[in-house]
């Protein structure tokens, strides 16, 4: 049992999606104040200092990004983050099956969503994660 709630991170190079997904996360009651990152490297810099046992991160990760793409981000995350409890949901506009399969290689990835994110998906995710969300 933990009483800590995960920090929700939304990573996308498109400000429009950051804006949109932030609203859906809020309205879905997942996190009233999700953090948004337009650059995956900045998200990593935010996570690294918080790599402790009790921290949880729920990350909505876009794949195709110019400076650091989603996969690179995941690789860095696996390599550098040892203690924090991180769950990642890939959110992409790509329809590539290859990418969907590739995402399964990463332990932290728990789902693969197509853009745009929708409210019922967020609600369903809350049901699925249940206690991990610290309700």
């Amino acid at each position: 049992m933990t009483d800590t709630k995960p920090t929700v991170l939304i990573i996308d190079d498109d400000p429009g999606f950051l804006f949109l997904h932030k609203i859906i996360v809020k309205e879905g009651k997942l996190d009233p104040n999700p953090m948004t990152f337009i650059d995956a490297r900045m998200a990593l810099e935010h996570i690294y200092p918080l790599d402790i046992n009790s921290t949880k991160f729920l990350i909505f990760l876009d794949i195709n990004m110019p400076k650091m793409n989603g996969w690179k981000f995941l690789e860095e995350l696996e390599k550098n983050v040892k203690r924090a409890d991180i769950k990642v949901i890939m959110v992409t506009s790509s329809l590539s099956k290859v990418e969907r399969e590739k995402s399964k290689e990463f332990e932290a990835v728990i789902d693969f969503w197509e853009k745009p994110m929708e409210e019922p998906q967020v609600i369903a995710l809350q049901d699925r994660l249940g206690a991990w969300l610290g309700e």
């Binding site: 498109d14 429009g16 999606f17 804006f19 949109l20 997904h21 609203i23 859906i24 809020k26 309205e27 009233p32 195709n64 506009s93 790509s94 329809l95 590539s96 197509e114 853009k115 745009p116 994110m117 929708e118 409210e119």
Partner: protein, 877 residues
């Protein structure tokens, strides 16, 4: 061409040639042909004369042998026939193999040709051959002047051993008897040789000089200069027929016995000796008065005489008889007419008119009351004879034969120049004159004249005929023909002739009622209202035709300046039907050579010839009347024509023709000669030939007996010669001719040549194509290889291109899935936000801001789509 010298003459009553039936009107005559060095003999001294098995007459002269067929003499001498060893043959001996001719040192067998020549010099040394006989075995026995007899067997001479007379003698002649017995006449008796038993015996006194044995078994005669002519009976007893003093001038070698058992011989001084029943007659032909007769052949009605100095004389009965009346002898004869009482009236040019009846002649001239002695026409009417002249008509009472009146211009004639008087079936007497005169007396004796227009006031009316339909046709000079019916002129019709030819001498209506006009331009046929002309080129002997007379048999006779010409009616019919311009009629000409007194017949008289009641054709000539017995022409023809293929001439080379002719390769010109042996009447034949049986065209052969061929292509031919006698087909003689092809002309050669050429061509083509094919295959392979490598390059390029394109496509796809979807999903998200706008409280942006953001997002999407499109456009090359 031959030009026999021909004589004819009326025989005196004591002539030995009483060859013809006697006739009260017509007497007999003969024709004599002389063949000498002017017309085919090399020389005029005849040594021997004999006919061979084929019918050719052989004549031995000093300058060679002559073979004669009746029309063309053919010379065999050493020059043209090197087989001959000598030029002069003295005696002929007729045997089963042919005629053996004997010369000084050789003998020759003659039959159609010189079959064989045998050198006899081994038996003729210091002597010569006197007798020759051929035995049944074919061996010859030859007797010599030196008294020896040799047997010739297989070309070997052996002396006859059993011939060994005791006395020295000369063999004079042989006479073969049946049963292998031979009589041998010698200077010392007559011997019998028994050839079977090989024995001999003397059968007469040794003193008998048996100069000549002649006759036939059963009628054997022996002549000796001492004993004259004796008959030898079966017991070899001699009975003198004629003592020697009666025939001291006889030429023994000429002695013969004829078919009537008369003995003929030539006299050494003059003429002929004829012995009949022991009575010696002598006579001389005037034509041969100065020549002795050495050889005689008497055959049927013909007499062949070999003379010394006048060549060969052939005396034969004339085919045309002449009148023997002194009053008509050599007179220029004009119109001839036969009256109803069978009397024949003969007009002359200047000797009055003559009536012949029952062998008697009654002459009338101006002293008897005739208007003049020249006669132009004769007719009869109401028992009177009307004799026309240039000064009117004399009327003669048929019974009293007296001139009882005349008809002249004074009686209404247009002219006194009378051309024709003619009685028709209505018993009208027509009188045609000069100056358009057509008149007639009707059956009541009333005189009428037919009025012609002024155009005809100068027309001479010269011939007349009543047709079967009673119409009268009158021929004129220059104005064609006039048609009259019931005394009325219906029409004048001109003939298709030039002015000079436009003289209608005579008119003839044939059995089909077609009309034939004898004119100065040939014979004009009027058939079915159309004219057709038979001209000289179609076989008539002369353009002017004076008369046309049908005989009672199958013929029609026309007369002209060359005599009388016989046409079979079938030939005229053939002319009617032919459309061939080259039509040539088969005819027979009767001229002086057949006994016409003169070959020139007279015309422009009426009638200009007649057929009398007994079938004779009477022809007036410038020298007397010729009478042809037309009733038995075909009966004169005995057996088929004696046609013989003779020789093939190739340049100088002569080859007798047997059953085919082979022309060696390379020879282009050759001559084929033939004979038609006939001594009776060579004129009776018409010959035609053709070498190509595919054509109907027969080419006339005139007098030549040689056909020349030039340029015949190699191949098989049949030469056909058609023989007609009196216009009727006698036979068609055929002989195959094979013209041999030179090697290069043979079909086999040509075929082989073509095959070789084709093979050669085949190989050349094949070789060429092989090379060509190889080349083309190589080049094809090269080309293909090049193409393949190019294709490969292209493929590589294409692969690269495809790869490139694939990259682009992937990029497009990537763009589709990423770039496009990014704004699209964003737009969807904004749209969703807008939909949920009333519900969401945390949006933080106004609806308008969101809508603007949506529009921007869509614009972004649109830009992406446009970029993608331009990228895909770049894919196209």
């Amino acid at each position: 061409m031959w030009t026999a010298t021909l004589f004819s003459r009326v025989l005196a009553a004591d002539s030995p040639l009483l060859l013809f039936k006697d006739s009260s009107l017509v007497s007999t005559n003969y024709v004599m042909e002389i063949w000498d060095n002017t017309n085919g003999l090399p020389q005029n001294a005849v040594y021997a004369l004999e006919k061979d098995k084929s019918g050719y007459l052989w004549i031995a002269t000093e300058e060679g042998l002559v073979r004669f067929d009746g029309i063309s003499p053919k010379l065999f001498d050493k020059e043209s026939y090197p087989i001959m060893q000598e030029q002069t043959y003295y005696t002929f001996f007729k045997t089963a193999s042919g005629i053996w001719g004997t010369a000084d040192r050789s003998i020759a067998l003659l039959d159609r040709n010189i079959l064989k020549v045998i050198d006899c010099s081994e038996i003729t040394d210091q002597t010569w051959i006197r007798a020759l006989v051929e035995l049944d075995s074919g061996d010859l026995l030859i007797g010599t002047q030196s008294g020896k007899i040799f047997q010739l067997k297989d070309d070997q001479f052996t002396q006859l051993e059993f011939w060994n007379p005791e006395r020295k003698l000369e063999v004079q002649n042989f006479f073969l008897l049946p049963d292998s017995k031979l009589l041998v006449g010698t200077t010392a008796g007559l011997y019998e040789l028994d050839l079977k038993n090989e024995s001999m015996r003397l059968i007469s006194s040794e003193d008998l000089f048996a100069q000549k044995i002649f006759g036939e078994p059963g009628s054997i005669y022996v002549y000796s200069s001492k004993a004259g002519i004796s008959k030898l009976n079966e017991r070899y007893e001699m009975e003198q027929i004629v003592p020697s003093n009666q025939i001291s001038d006889i030429n023994p070698s000429s002695l013969i016995l004829d078919g009537e058992k008369r003995i003929w011989a030539g006299s050494t001084t003059k003429g002929l000796i004829l012995i009949q029943n022991g009575i010696v007659n002598r006579f001389t032909y005037p034509e041969l008065a100065n020549y002795t007769i050495r050889k005689i052949i008497k055959e049927k009605d013909n007499l062949y005489l070999g003379t010394l100095g006048k060549g060969l004389a052939i005396i034969k009965p004339a085919k045309v008889s002449q009148l023997s009346y002194e009053a008509l002898r050599e007179k220029n004869i004009k119109a001839i007419f036969q009256a109803t009482d069978s009397s024949v009236w003969i007009g002359t040019r200047s000797d009055g008119v003559h009536r012949i009846k029952d062998g008697e002649i009654h002459s009338l001239n101006s002293t008897d009351g005739l208007l003049q002695n020249g006669v132009t026409t004769i007719g009869s009417w109401k028992d009177k004879i009307y004799v026309g002249s240039s000064t009117g008509i004399s009327v003669i009472d048929q019974k009293s034969k007296k001139v009882i009146g005349k008809i002249t211009e004074e009686d209404g004639l247009k002219s006194n120049y009378i051309y024709a008087v003619y009685k028709d079936s209505k018993d009208w007497l027509w009188i045609l004159t000069r100056y358009g005169g057509i008149h007639y007396f009707d059956q009541n004796g009333d005189f009428h004249q037919i009025q012609l227009s002024d155009n005809y006031s100068n027309t001479s009316l010269i011939s007349i005929l009543e047709l079967k339909d009673k119409q009268i046709v009158i021929g004129s000079m220059n104005q064609g023909i006039f048609w009259i019916q019931d005394g009325v002129l219906i029409k004048n019709q001109s003939l298709p002739l030039t002015p000079g030819e436009n003289v209608v001498y005579c008119i003839y209506q044939d059995e089909s009622d077609d009309l034939w006009f004898g004119t100065h331009g040939g014979i004009v046929l009027l058939k079915d209202e159309e004219f057709k002309i038979l001209r000289k080129s179609n076989g008539i002997k002369s353009q002017s035709v004076y008369s046309i007379t049908a005989d009672t048999k199958d013929g029609v006779w026309i007369t002209n300046n060359f005599g009388a010409q016989y046409f079979a009616k079938s030939e005229l019919q053939r002319f009617k039907e032919t459309g061939d311009e080259d039509f040539f009629a088969s005819t027979t000409v009767y001229n002086k050579s057949l006994g016409m007194p003169n070959s020139e017949a007279n015309g422009l008289i009426f009638p200009s010839s007649i057929g009398d009641f007994s079938g004779n054709i009477w022809i007036p000539t410038v020298e007397g009347v010729g009478v042809i017995d037309a009733s038995n022409l075909s009966e004169n023809v005995i057996g088929p024509a004696n046609f013989r293929w003779d020789e093939l001439n190739l340049g100088d080379q002569k080859t007798p023709i047997d059953d085919q002719i082979i022309i060696p390769e390379g020879v282009r010109m050759f001559q084929v000669s033939f004979s038609l042996i006939d001594f009776e009447n060579p004129n009776q034949y018409s010959l035609f030939y053709r070498i190509d049986s595919k054509t109907e065209q027969w080419i006339p052969i005139k007098d030549q007996r040689q056909l020349i061929f030039n340029g015949l292509k190699p191949g098989e031919y049949t030469l056909e010669v058609k023989v007609l006698r009196y216009g009727k087909l006698d036979s068609i003689q055929t002989i195959p001719i094979q013209v041999t092809a030179a090697l290069i002309e043979t079909t086999a050669f040509k075929i082989s040549f073509v095959i070789i050429i084709l093979l050669l061509l085949y190989f050349v083509v094949k070789y060429y194509f092989n090379i060509q094919m190889k080349k083309s295959l190589e080049s094809m392979v090269d080309k293909r290889t090049l193409e393949l490598s190019r294709t490969n390059e292209k493929l590589k390029e294409a692969v690269k291109e495809i790869e490139d394109q694939n990259l682009i496509l992937k990029e497009i796809t990537w763009n589709q899935s990423h770039l496009v979807r990014a704004p699209l999903t964003k737009a969807m998200g904004i749209n969703m936000l807008l939909l949920n706008y009333p519900k969401y409280s945390t949006v933080g942006k106004s609806k308008e801001e969101l809508e603007k953001e949506l529009l921007d997002t869509l614009k972004e999407l649109d830009k992406l789509v446009k970029d993608t499109h331009s990228k895909s456009e770049n894919l196209k090359k």
